[in-house]
């Protein structure tokens, strides 16, 4: 084997992790960075539709067929991330669409209104017929994490909570890339601690963030993860035993349980890479900007809301005008994702943007989703949270198209920006990009990502028959199994008790532990636990269970880390609920009452003998002390 090029993938969404996986399987040296935990923040803001292509059959038959092929591929390689919900397409001229589907070999059956409502009782009664098509639901979090883990198995260096802060270009080519890893949890008073806010903060604050940061030369050797863990010989990299260190608190043999609470400095690292693929989603223009390159895009605005439970069991879609994204209502796991585009001409006042709102849609934009979807589904259930997604597009109105921009044209060889596309077709897009980059280095190796199964997606026998439910309640087991796929038995088979720590989502302690141990997750990153397990995404949005999830960090991490992690986790959840302050307000008030009142997490008292002396110690009322027992053991 000749020279192995080192490729940096910027962005840990479905596309970025898919790219890293493909590159790694083809034997290239790969590093992937993402400022958040993987699969966040933007990944979650998709509609959950694993499209069959039917929606696009009329307008764009090539794309429709591509969707169908990828839809089938994902069922084969990532079975635990997809659910065969079937799909119903509603809207005008279904006969025409059916013919177009047939031309694309997409099975489409025209159902009468009655037959459609029988298939899906959650349909709006006004719907007068539907096309039954092989759409499905996809969990973008599980998919992204699985791809990252697989990439790592093949030797990729996956670095969550790491941001590109500079791309140094010399003589018309990328020379060095400066990345900065922020430990988690950062001090609550310091930098923004939430995954979501991080990503978005870069949108507005790029100038500040990346401008004057002098690269820390001394940091190279101090990087805790990268050097030692890249597993060149394919061996499972070993992590130092006995406790966990938070990146940034480096220092070989220090007791990792000590001093983890204080200010944790970011680690700066300079990477000598041969090629950079920019897959930073709508943040891609900012990343390209670090190399003084531009990405001509326009910004669309879309809002996704997350409804509790499954008001529909089928993926229900309504194709929009040509070029616009369809309205979708798709059940994913224990939620239903509702997505709609803000069309020009719709209540523009509903979509204020600006530094304050960031990724938070206005409540009016949330109303707009509900309004757009009425007429599609009968009820949208209780909305739990909502997220705004600025979508960067090369060509407005062609949102699902992907585009590859080679910045060689802008005098920067070695930087490629990939933009757009869908989760449905992400693997194919990654394949095309990898072909192209490999071509730059004269490497010709076939893509295998459509054949190799992802971790969790391997075919396994049904475990329930063999081992029962691992001592868990049946429903807990079923939910766990859906998320864990082929890893179910490895994760749920524990020696001792394995209590549920997130009741709404049925997440057990061992599943949280497995997520914390996952090498593709940043140390102590509960945001990463959330995307891997769905813990804290249920009714209370972490209000009831967030602290239980956070204490799983103890005793490996000290109390201060646990508290900060808990705060960061709950604040991230809080932000997503704010725009749905109507329906979610009761839960928010309960969460606030529990944490501010009952737990008193808003106050932290350190008290000496004299401090507590001013309070009632019960001694005024000796009658209240039990007299049943001789008091031994403790002598004052």
């Amino acid at each position: 084997m000749g020279y192995t090029p080192h490729v940096l993938v910027v962005g840990g969404g479905p596309l970025g992790t898919g790219l890293a996986r493909d590159f790694a399987i083809r034997g290239l040296e790969v590093t992937l960075v993402d400022p958040g935990p993987l699969a966040a923040p933007r990944t979650g803001r998709m509609g959950g539709l694993l499209a069959s292509g039917a929606q696009f059959a009329r307008e764009d038959p090539d794309y429709a067929q591509r969707c169908l092929a990828e839809n089938r591929t994902l069922f084969e390689i990532a079975g635990h991330c997809v659910e065969d919900t079937g799909g119903l397409v509603v809207g005008d001229n279904l006969d025409g669409l059916q013919t177009a589907c047939e031309d694309c070999s997409i099975a489409a059956q025209h159902l009468s209104a009655e037959a459609a409502t029988e298939r899906e009782p959650g349909l709006d009664p006004a719907v007068d017929g539907a096309l039954a098509v092989p759409d499905a639901a996809i969990d973008p979090f599980l998919l992204t994490v699985a791809a990252a883990r697989d990439a790592r198995e093949y030797g990729a260096d996956i670095r969550p909570r790491t941001e590109v802060t500079d791309i140094v270009v010399e003589n018309g080519a990328v020379e060095t890339v400066v990345v900065e890893q922020t430990p988690f949890p950062v001090d609550a008073d310091g930098r923004d601690a939430t995954g979501d806010a991080d990503g978005d903060a870069t949108d507005d604050a790029d100038g500040d963030d990346t401008g004057g940061e002098p690269p820390d030369d001394g940091a190279d050797g101090a990087d805790p993860g990268a050097g030692g863990e890249s597993g060149e010989d394919g061996d499972e990299p070993v992590r130092s035993d006995g406790g966990k260190s938070v990146p940034g608190t480096v220092g070989g043999g220090t007791d990792p349980t000590e001093d983890l609470g204080g200010s944790l400095e970011p680690t700066v690292d300079r990477l000598d890479v041969d090629y950079v693929v920019n897959a930073a989603g709508d943040n891609a223009p900012a990343v390209a900007g670090l190399a003084d390159c531009s990405v001509p895009v326009s910004q669309g605005q879309e809002t996704v809301t997350v409804a509790a439970g499954r008001p529909v069991e089928t993926a229900v879609t309504r194709p929009a005008a040509p070029g616009e994204a369809p309205d979708t209502a798709v059940p994913v796991g224990q939620h239903t994702l509702l997505a709609t585009e803000h069309r020009s001409g719709s209540d523009a006042a509903g979509v204020p943007s600006g530094p304050d709102t960031g990724h938070i849609p206005s409540p009016l934009a949330v109303d707009n989703v509900a309004d757009s979807l009425s007429g599609l589904v009968a009820g949208t259930g209780r909305t739990q949270r909502a997220l705004r997604l600025p979508r960067a597009e090369f060509d407005p109105g062609r949102g699902r198209d992907f585009a590859v921009l080679d910045h060689d044209r802008q005098d920067c060889w070695g930087l490629l920006t990939v933009l757009g596309g869908t989760v449905t077709t992400h693997r194919w897009v990654a394949e095309r990009v990898c072909d192209r980059v490999c071509g730059e280095f004269g490497i010709q190796r076939a893509c295998q990502t459509d054949e190799l199964q992802l971790p969790g997606g391997e075919d396994v026998p049904d475990l329930a028959q063999a081992v029962g439910t691992f001592g868990l309640a049946e429903s807990v087991y079923e939910h766990s199994k859906r998320r864990l796929g082929s890893q179910t038995s490895a994760v749920l088979h524990t020696d001792g008790e394995n209590p549920v720590v997130c009741s709404c989502q049925s997440v057990t302690r061992s599943e949280v532990a497995a997520a914390l141990d996952d090498e593709t997750n940043a140390d102590a990153d509960l945001g990463g636990v959330r995307v891997r397990t769905s813990a804290t995404t249920g009714r209370s949005q972490g209000g009831r269970c967030g602290h239980q999830v956070a204490t799983q960090l103890h005793p490996a991490y000290d109390g201060e880390v646990v508290e900060n992690a808990c705060t960061a986790l709950l604040d991230e959840r809080w932000q997503g609920q704010r725009p749905v302050a109507g329906p979610q307000q009761t839960e928010m008030a309960r969460t606030y009452r529990l944490h501010a009142g009952v737990m008193n997490r808003g106050h932290d008292h350190e008290m000496g003998h004299t401090d507590i002396a001013g309070y009632d110690d019960g001694s005024h009322d000796p009658a209240d002390r039990p007299t049943c027992c001789p008091r031994v053991g403790w002598e004052p």
Binding site: E474, T567, A581, Y592, H605, D616, R631
Partner: protein, 474 residues
Amino acid sequence: MNGRADATPSPSGEDSLGDPSETVTPSDTPDVLVVGGGLAGCFAALSAAREHPAAAAVELLVTAADRFDRHPGTIDVLGYPGRSTDDDSTAATEHRQPVETPFDAIDALPEDHPYRRLGRDRLRTALALFDDELDYSGERSEHNALVPTHTGRVRPTARYPDWMAAGLASRDEPMGLVGFEQAPALDAAFVADRLGERLPYEVTAVTVEFPGRVTESPAGPVLARALDGDEAPSGDVGTPDFDVVEEEPPSSLTPDEEQGPAREPLVERVRSELALEGRVGFPAVLGETAYQTVRDHIESALYAEVFEIPVGPPSVPGRRLERRLHAALADAGVAVTSGALEGFEADDGRIDRVSLSGRDRAVESVVLATGGLSGPGLVADRAGVHEPVFDCHVDHPDDRLAWTEPTLLADHAFGRFGVSVDDELRPLDATGRPEYENLRAAGRIVGGFDYDAEQSADGVALVTGGAAGRWSSP
């Protein structure tokens, strides 16, 4: 203070507190109808009935069955008087010491705070009635006590039940904590670490397996029931076919022959793990009805004082408090019904008739004690915030994003949502006039202040409930 013995059923072995033997039949024409069965509603009904024991027909309508599932069972009067504007940086708020004597801090509150509006004498009267009726501890102290929380903090409170008495953080003496593997709500090692770092004495911890098999989550009520009945829980799991497994099945999967008792195996496990301590704390799941017996049992077995730390929701201590309140209500002759108020008729600014359980009835006066946003008292939707029972005016910003701040532990506008009241606690309409002459509000639904931030919700419930009840009584 006397008269407690008459007012409260005496605690016997299987706690009879809160097992009201007699239920009171609702009158056809209740003089006072209290809507809402939280602390404020119970207390309003109790006060109304005690005001005129013979004359008044008082009915309490419980509108949400789970009101006490979020109540930790303590009575907070005032922990932190309102944020002062000049030092409201997070750091300053975070380290502000809790109030030592609530009565001394009342003057610093704004004039329209319920405590200022009703006055400290009414607060004293309300607390005295509570002490007489409920048999809680702390009644002879003007001082707040500090109690440990299940997340390892301390919290000021004015009244605490007997089962928390030994666990006061403000008692300068080491403590041991016991956690249950199956109840992650209280991670004993974590709480002990946190408390030990913050208090001037040692806090130790052990975690044991609760006897039996627990698959329910949250586990609290199941554990409490197991101890009440002294029968280890049996869980609810799918049936494994062990023949198919090659490995040795983990012990947690082996079916138990029979469930057996819960109490004795529990104390045995604790005794073998725990170093001797003068006082030992458990998550507050030591029985929902027989908690005195259970605690006595554990105390004598461990030779230690035993206390409990509230966990939840669902909060077992909240349910205990509810049972005690209902026993007192029964004793006072209050009729308790549950359901929703289906409608009402008003004439000339007075509520004349209500329809309840399909029947129309005349009423003299009504107390609205349905709770705030966290209870069912206020409802929020696209159109804003409403009070759904009588459609009282609720002042709030139109912009829904302005209801909340970007982080959870902040000074949120919604914390103060509620009805505005006059000096007689009558909800006011948008023009500042009483909505109805004979409608009064009590508890969290009275807006203007963030009782969670103040840690004053229970004191406010008692003083507003007490006053509204008494004023409504003919």
